[in-house]
Symmetry: C2
Subunit: 199 residues, 2 copies
DNA sequence: GAATATTCCTAGGACCCCTAGGTTTTTCCT
DNA sequence: AGGAAAAACCTAGGGGTCCTAGGAATATTC
């Protein structure tokens, strides 16, 4: 007659939501569905998670953390083009392995600031990118611009690829390799400007 | 006593949905909300639009058309870096002016094929990109790769920018200009490979 | 072992998607 | 012009979702 408890926790709820997102897509992650997966009534989740919006934010933070860890492991001990390729591949691979979690990172975020503060992922990710680009010896503000270009390109590519944006004519994989080559060359010959515009 | 009709049509419903998306975000575009905006009961919309999913698809196609037209107008009569900058600015400006419509173009699309066939937007967009890059005299498959890199970078940048991905330290506008410079130089010095890898 | 805090539940309101079938307006045909 | 046919819009309602309020069962703490 002992009713055994499910042992819920904010993290366990978030994880269930993340798994569900990878399986059926983030837009189908609902309170009811997560509750069903955990063998619990939907109302029970609200003791651990403020709202569906909140749950989505937590999934996004989880994904950011996981992605950062993967990139850190992949780039450890590498430098220059080696590091660049490892960084980019880890990014893309994470998006492939966890499509639902990855799309969670794209949503215009409205997350509890207190949560964000505790999550090391995003901050760590920026540091990683900067140190990965160190080999190219760029000076500020070019370094910041290069970081942003990197993130834009990687995010754009994986995002378009996931949405089926590349027709089947040429394998996305081949384009990916060439784009990394191109980024590498670009970073080596970054067009530095004198601050004064000639207009 | 004449009940005046709203004069609904698939296009008018789509437009109302698109406007709503820009105002309150695509995720808040609901059948009921669109119906309210049109002064109509939600059930009335189903005579013109198959479902909410269908409506979202139509908004995405509308956005693709509009964006393509803007880019076409902006790049008309330009070539080389001029054309590149005009193309990219038109893209980014559209995303700024119509954030809801723009995010509609990002969703992994599941649209009625018959609708897609009638919409000239996407096809036209690809042609535009190819002809814009013609000035750089790339040969296939480099041309396709360059097109994909362009789209990835532009989409990634505007998407990250919209999501608030760039901290306030350096104005996004400045980074944007530098990125366009970088893309231009990259396209001029595209790293062509001999087909055989030396491994 | 009793008091307290926590976990999970039931009940229910408000909203949303979508279908079925009826009523009113418009269009079309002769 | 008048009637038939088509289209536009409605009401009614089932089933799902999010979320709150408050109650019952289980852990935890002293």
């Amino acid at each position: 007659m002992h009713m055994v408890r499910a042992g819920l926790t904010a993290d366990r709820v978030t994880l269930a939501g993340a798994e569900l997102a990878d399986e059926v897509g983030l837009e189908h992650v609902t309170m009811s569905a997560v509750a069903r997966r955990l063998g619990v009534k939907d109302a029970s989740l609200y003791a651990h998670v403020r709202s569906l919006e909140d749950l989505r934010g937590r999934i996004a933070l989880l994904a950011a953390d996981e992605k950062t860890i993967r990139i850190a492991e992949a780039t450890a001990g590498r430098a220059g083009k080696d590091a660049l390729v490892a960084y980019a591949n880890a990014w893309r691979q994470y998006a492939h392995d966890h499509p639902g979690r990855y799309t969670a990172t794209q949503i215009p975020i409205q997350i509890d600031p207190e949560l964000v503060a505790r999550a090391a992922g995003p901050r760590r990710a920026v540091e990683l990118t900067y140190s990965m680009l160190r080999a190219y010896a760029l000076q500020e503000p070019d370094l910041t611009d290069a970081v942003r270009l990197m993130r834009s390109t990687l995010h754009g590519f994986t995002s378009l690829e996931a949405a089926g944006g590349f027709a089947h004519a040429r394998p996305a994989e081949d384009t990916w390799v060439r784009c990394l080559d191109a980024l590498h060359t670009l970073l080596e010959h970054w067009p530095t400007h004198d601050e004064g515009d000639s207009t």
